[in-house]
Symmetry: C2
Subunit: 198 residues, 2 copies
Amino acid sequence: MSAKGQQGRKPRADVQRNRAALLEAAQRHFLRAGVGASLEAVAKEAGVGPATLYRHFPTREALLAAVLQTRSEELVARQEDIALLGDASEALRQWLRALEEYFSAFSGLPEPLMAAVREREPDNPLTLPCDELIATTDEYVRAAQLAGHARPSVKGYDLYLAAVSVAWIKGSGATDEESLDRLRALIESGYREQDGEE
Amino acid sequence: MSAKGQQGRKPRADVQRNRAALLEAAQRHFLRAGVGASLEAVAKEAGVGPATLYRHFPTREALLAAVLQTRSEELVARQEDIALLGDASEALRQWLRALEEYFSAFSGLPEPLMAAVREREPDNPLTLPCDELIATTDEYVRAAQLAGHARPSVKGYDLYLAAVSVAWIKGSGATDEESLDRLRALIESGYREQDGEE
DNA sequence: ACCTGAACACCGTTCAAGT
DNA sequence: ACCTGAACACCGTTCAAGT
């Protein structure tokens, strides 16, 4: 039972090349056609057969999660910048904007992200990153509440949902930036404590 | 040019039967499988060939719009009840809930509805109903604003978008009723005038 | 005028055969 | 151990042929 496939050994060179080519092709296609892009086309552009794609990424979600890895790292980096602010209210606001941008990486991305939270199956590779983002949002909310800048009834998950919603609307393309801004303002005045404006 | 197909004449009996059977089958499938349900399966259940479905409803949107007709009429009826309230603030709140229920008729419905608003092509049979709903929402918002119950910066379209969003989240199934209620409360305190609580 | 079912195209997924 | 391309299944859409 100990001589299975993926020991800590270096993967073969062509395996690494295939994986990299698949990720690059997938990102291009997700950008162009949204998360529902044809996997056949991705494999073709990466110069491999469809079965090779499935060997590397058994589900569309697995491929999506791998492509999103880079963006997640950007989000973590952003968190450090935000921490420097000091102001809990402004920190929460900026975090929500960063979340929204992350969700807007590809058109149609909010859908599988919500599904990942719904199913709560450990085999969905998107569940873990989502849970982390929800937890982080909750931390920002708590900090803002302690500083008197957010209503006590608001939870991190609520604002996570609000951010996904805005991203979904943005991705649907039915709306100009002005409407989005009004929607963001509406959400903001929804979670803010009225008096704590200093 | 005047002896075309659909004059005011009565359609043949089998045509009426087919149309009715298609609508019934479509509603069942949309309820079970969401708006992306297999049209092939719909035709099969209605006892007709796929081409007959396409003759009656050239696009998925056309079929969807026809199935939604009944629900739209329910919404209009609801409007009359709401008008009896007198209270502009409560009227707006109830209208938004009615909208949300309408959008939740089938899973995945928010998607094509947003697309209809985006494309603004007259051949999309969902565009007209959506535009009407937006206009109606705007009337409720204006009335609430006149009564001092809604912020002047809010537009009907904003709250229309908010209602679609809540329906989308509800339809994604990732969320319990409590979270939805908190989200609705957040939106409400977002558009309400703080002082005008009487 | 309307219907039918076969036909075509496209894509996700798997499997037998290669190296 | 990994790759390949053929094969299968499913579905949306159209077309030639019927009545």
